[in-house]
C-alpha cells in the first residue's frame, strides 16, 4: 500500500438510476464509461435504496457526487431523499431532449451527449 492509499480524495461519486428504459440504461452506460475514463467512480444506488449503512454513509460523506436520472419520475433522486442523502449535481436525461422509450439499442451519440452533460455539470463546480 502506498502512503496515499486512502480514497476518495477528490473522487466524484456517480449514481445512475439504471432503470428499465432507454434513458435508464443510458444513465447506466454513461456512468460506466465515465468511470472508465476516470471522470468519477460509479457507485451502487441499489445499496443506498436498500438502506445499507456503508452505502448510505458513503453517499452522505462524499464531497462530490453527480446523480443521473433517466426521466422526470426521478427514482434516483427519490432514493437519495428517502436515505437523507443531500442531492448535489443532478441531471435528468429527458431534459436533454432524449425521448424515453423501450428501445435498448443505445446510440453512441446519445451516450456521448450524456457524458458531455455530466462533464459540463461537474465543470461548473
Amino acid at each position: 500500500m502506498t502512503e496515499n492509499c486512502c480514497v476518495p480524495g477528490g473522487t466524484v461519486m456517480i449514481l445512475s438510476c439504471s432503470g428499465g428504459s432507454n434513458v435508464g440504461q443510458l444513465s447506466n452506460q454513461a456512468a460506466v464509461e465515465l468511470t472508465r475514463e476516470g471522470v468519477g467512480k460509479m457507485f451502487c444506488l441499489a445499496g443506498i435504496g436498500g438502506q445499507l449503512s456503508g452505502f448510505v454513509q458513503s453517499a452522505r460523506d462524499v464531497p462530490e457526487m453527480v446523480t443521473i436520472d433517466g426521466c422526470s419520475v426521478g427514482c434516483a433522486k427519490a432514493i437519495l431523499e428517502k436515505a437523507r442523502v443531500p442531492l448535489k449535481s443532478y441531471l435528468v436525461l429527458t431534459d436533454l431532449g432524449i425521448e424515453k422509450n423501450k428501445n435498448f439499442d443505445l446510440s453512441s451519440e446519445d451516450i456521448r451527449r450524456v457524458k458531455e452533460a455530466v462533464k459540463a455539470i461537474l465543470s461548473e463546480k
Binding site: 492509499c5 486512502c6 454513509q57 458513503s58
Partner: protein, 77 residues
C-alpha cells in the same frame, strides 16, 4: 461494543484508529477495536472509500477522519 476501523494502512487510516482508541479510552466504554486492512473484507461493507468507522455493524463515517467528539457521540458518551 464492537468498533472496526476500515483502512489499508495509510496515514489517514492510522490517524483514525488512533483517535478512535483515544475516544474509547477517555469515555471508559467497554469496546473491542479492530483494524481491518484486508481489501476484500473492507469491500464487504460497501464503502466508497477509506478510512471508515463501523460501530456495532453500522457504518458511521466514510472517507474522512472523524473528530473525537463525533466518535464519543457515536459510542454514546
Amino acid at each position: 461494543m464492537e468498533i472496526k476501523v476500515l483502512g489499508p494502512g495509510c496515514p489517514k487510516c492510522r490517524q483514525t484508529e488512533k483517535i478512535v482508541r483515544e475516544a474509547v479510552s477517555e469515555s471508559g466504554v467497554d469496546a473491542e477495536i479492530e483494524k481491518v486492512t484486508d481489501i476484500l473484507k473492507i469491500g464487504e461493507y460497501g464503502v466508497f472509500g477509506t478510512p471508515a468507522v463501523v460501530i456495532d455493524g453500522e457504518v458511521k463515517s466514510v472517507g474522512k477522519i472523524p473528530t473525537k467528539e463525533e466518535i464519543k457521540r457515536w459510542i454514546g458518551k
